[in-house]
Structures are given as structure tokens and as C-alpha cells.
């Protein structure tokens, strides 16, 4: 069954190159997903970058507090 299907599909594929005849068969790459992807990527990149800055500032603040506490305990 499957082998007969494969044979049928293969028989539909033309051998060699064939020129386009009639109509306007031109290759079309849709632009909308590319434009949306570009702007979405920028938004995600900015959100990610702002998150990393916020996280790093938070880490430094935590370290500062821990150090101050240790200093306070020593005294």
C-alpha cells in the first residue's frame, strides 16, 4: 500500500528541469512573518536585557546587604 503510494508520488515528479508555462508562477516569500519576527525579536531582546540588568543589580544589592550584616555581626 505504502510502496504503491511512494511510486505514485515519484511518478508525478518530473525528470530534469522544466520551464514555467502560462500564468504567473513566480516564487513568493511571505513578508509579513519576517517583519513581525523582526519587531517581536527586538521587543523580546529588550525585555530580556532589562531583566538581566534588574537581576544583576538585585544580586549586587543582596551581596552588599550580606556583607554589611557580616560586618555588623563581627562588631
Amino acid at each position: 500500500m505504502i510502496s504503491s503510494l511512494i511510486v505514485a508520488v515519484l511518478q508525478q515528479i518530473p525528470e530534469g528541469f522544466e520551464r514555467v508555462t502560462g500564468g504567473q508562477q513566480v516564487e513568493q516569500i511571505p513578508a509579513a512573518p519576517l517583519v513581525v519576527a523582526s519587531y517581536a525579536f527586538f521587543l523580546l531582546l529588550m525585555v530580556f536585557y532589562l531583566w538581566t540588568i534588574w537581576r544583576r543589580i538585585g544580586k549586587v544589592e543582596t551581596d552588599m546587604r550580606a556583607l554589611e550584616q557580616r560586618q555588623g555581626q563581627k562588631r
Partner: protein, 221 residues
């Protein structure tokens, strides 16, 4: 600057809300149609990158020859922005190229040199992170050379005629299509102001890190 940060953030946020609406409403370009709309943020990101490169180059020179700590913070912060904006510039260019050139990537003079430029600043950050003691000076030298490379990247499209549009595109855009010219500079201004905001935030982080280092040193003594 701290007082200006919040009002500036509000202005930048408003500009980034307005920009996509204006871009969506802008006319199509005659040959590329919809995909040309990538141009508005693509060009603007390279403008922001240029500002970040300028800051990194000047701050690196000041740090290397005068030893100013603040200059080192500005250099490190702007180098990171160079990588961020560079990555977006290359990514958006790749998406635009997929439709306009028919390929995701082209080893065109401008694209290749821009990639090298981003890699120089990525190298700056890696040297700084993993270079050990004294890496600040080594990375400052990289920052200066990265900044020196920027004019070559800009002129590459005029010197080596390949597939990327030439620098004259912006000059002719102002004459032929003032609406698009205004919009692209509006986006560029939004990106440049965003660069200022991010730079202030990153410099604040560097200043805090420096203060923490001083605290550790004081604790050891």
C-alpha cells in the same frame, strides 16, 4: 541624571509605542513592499550602535590614559550595548535579506564587517569577564580598536560594491520620500534615547559593583 531618568523613560516608551503605529501606516516601498518596513528599526539600531561605539571608544581612551573609574564603567556598559544592538541589527538584516536578496545570509562586505565589529565587542566583554586582573586595560584597548573599525564598516558599502545598499540611500530618501525619511529619524532618535537610558542603568550597575569591591577590600583590611 537620576532626576531625568523617569521622564526620559516615559518619553522613550511613548516613542516606542508610536513608532510601530507610524511604521504600519507608512506607505509601501515600490519594489520591496511590506518587507521594507524592517528598515525603520534596522537603520535605527545601527544609529544606536554608532552612539554606543562612540561612547565605548572615548571612554576607553580616557580610562587607558587617565585611569578614570567612571570612564571604565561607561566603556563596559556601552560595549554590552554594542553587542545587543549589533545582534538585533544583524538579525533584522537577515530577515530583510531573506525577502529582498532571497537568502538568510550573504557574505557581503558590509554584513561581514558588521559581524566582525560585533565580535570585537563580544571579545571585549569576554576579556573583561574571564581575563583576570588587569583585563580592564586590555579590554579598553579592544574598545578603542572596535571604535576605530566603525568608520570602515560604514564606508564598506561605498568602497566594495556588493549587494548591500550604499550610504547614499539616506540622502536620496530625504529628497524622494520625506515621510519615510522623517520616520526613520524618529525611530533613530527613539533608539538613541533608549541607548542613553540603558547606558545609565548599566553604569549604575558598574558603579554598584565597584562599591561592592571596595566594601570587600575594606572588610578584608
Amino acid at each position: 541624571m537620576k532626576k531625568l531618568f523617569v521622564p526620559l523613560a516615559v518619553i522613550v516608551a511613548a516613542m516606542f509605542v508610536a513608532a510601530p503605529i507610524a511604521i504600519a501606516r507608512a506607505d509601501y516601498e515600490s519594489t520591496m513592499l511590506l518587507v521594507q518596513k524592517i528598515f525603520y528599526f534596522h537603520f535605527a539600531t545601527w544609529m544606536a550602535l554608532t552612539v554606543a561605539i562612540g561612547v565605548c571608544g572615548v571612554a576607553s581612551v580616557i580610562y587607558l590614559f587617565k585611569g578614570s573609574k567612571a570612564a571604565d564603567w561607561y566603556a563596559a556598559a556601552s560595549a554590552e550595548l554594542c553587542v545587543i544592538f549589533g545582534v538585533f541589527g544583524l538579525f533584522s538584516g537577515s530577515l530583510w535579506g531573506r525577502k529582498a536578496w532571497g537568502v538568510w545570509w550573504q557574505w557581503d562586505a558590509r554584513v561581514t564587517m558588521a559581524t566582525m565589529l560585533v565580535l570585537v565587542f563580544l571579545g571585549y566583554l569576554m576579556v573583561r569577564k574571564y581575563g583576570g586582573p588587569g583585563s580592564e586595560k586590555l579590554s579598553a584597548a579592544m574598545g578603542i580598536f572596535g571604535a576605530a573599525t566603525a568608520p570602515f564598516v560604514y564606508k564598506s558599502v561605498d568602497w566594495w560594491r556588493t549587494i548591500h545598499p550604499q550610504t547614499t540611500v539616506m540622502k536620496t530618501l530625504g529628497e524622494k520620500w520625506p515621510g519615510a525619511w522623517m520616520l526613520v529619524w524618529f525611530c533613530s532618535l527613539a533608539f538613541i534615547l533608549l541607548t542613553v537610558l540603558l547606558l545609565v542603568a548599566r553604569v549604575h550597575l558598574e558603579a554598584m559593583r565597584s562599591r561592592l569591591d571596595d566594601m570587600y577590600l575594606a572588610a578584608e583590611e
